[in-house]
């Protein structure tokens, strides 16, 4: 059974990566923090009595489920919003619905402009990782960031090892191409 110290050490070791993965997926830091907190609380409450060695794959699975749940809830919410907004007459017919998205993009680019060169490169890489299709990104991060082997990644993603290899290969090629186009060679 994982002691309180072991669990604390484990969570401290994974929380930043978990947060980044959630940000890549949901593209919102506040929601990402909520997702990571939910995942941490769930693993402590439901699986806190498991041996420390079992925690990494469990946490990964819980985090991925939390991200998927977020998208499910968003889908339901947006369906209701669409329904109600269609019933409410539009006051501003010229309003641009993409204004919010553009503002988010500006914030990111501003932050990269004010950091050092290394920080800029890291930000670009993170940006390109976030642009990958969800399953490709998930497989790539599990394999190369979380250091899972193919079987572990397949178990965490609920798919076959062949699918993990395919997703990883496609993610690597897409990422390398995108970075090359932005003048970054690793």
């Amino acid at each position: 059974m994982a002691t309180r110290e072991e669990l604390s050490e484990f969570l401290a070791g994974v929380e930043r990566r978990a947060f980044k993965q959630a940000v890549f997926a949901v593209r919102d830091e506040s929601h990402a923090l909520d997702i990571v907190q939910d995942a941490m609380m769930k693993i402590a409450e439901k699986y806190g009595d498991r041996p420390a060695a079992e925690l990494p794959p469990l946490f990964t699975r819980i985090l991925q489920n939390a991200i998927h749940d977020f998208f499910r809830r968003s889908k339901v919410r947006s369906a209701w919003v669409t329904l109600f907004s269609s019933l409410i007459p539009e006051d501003e017919p010229d309003a641009d619905p993409l204004e919010t998205l553009e503002a988010t993009g500006d914030t990111r680019s501003e932050s990269t402009e004010t950091t050092f060169e290394r920080g800029q490169i890291v930000a670009i890489i993170e940006e390109e990782v976030a642009k990958l299709p969800a399953r490709q990104r998930e497989a790539f991060l599990l394999r190369y960031w979380e250091d899972f082997d193919t079987a572990e990644a397949a178990a965490a993603m609920g798919c076959s090892e062949g699918s993990v290899k395919t997703h990883c290969s496609r993610a690597t090629h897409a990422l390398a191409k995108a970075l090359r186009e932005r003048g970054i060679t690793l």
Binding site: V36, A44, T115, Y144
Partner: protein
Amino acid sequence: MNQDEFGFRVRQALNDGAERLDYRTVLRLEQARGKALALQRRAGPATVRLPALQLATAGAAPVDGGGPWSWLRGAGWAAPLVALAIGFVAISQWQEELEIKRLAALDFAVLLDDGPLDAYADQLFGVLLQAEQKADD
């Protein structure tokens, strides 16, 4: 550059980015960790489930199920059923006893011509008396 090498370099960059998180985010993550640790599930001492109505004597039996009183543990679940059956039988006997006493009192009252007037006004009671008279004849 092969796939693994590329993955390793991206990993270094992502680790670098994770280390550059702003103070507020790091603080929020620490708070989240604290909340999670407060909820940590603890494996307590093994709980022994006993039937709610198990007989008290069952506790004296060894854990491995041996001993002269071990059969009582198995019979623990049947005790309420047995008690219920005994209760039904007792109530039935008591009701029967009451009915016999009521009929005896009625017979006695008829024999002494001390029956209530209402009884004679009852049509069925008259039929009963006629039937008894015919039987006596």
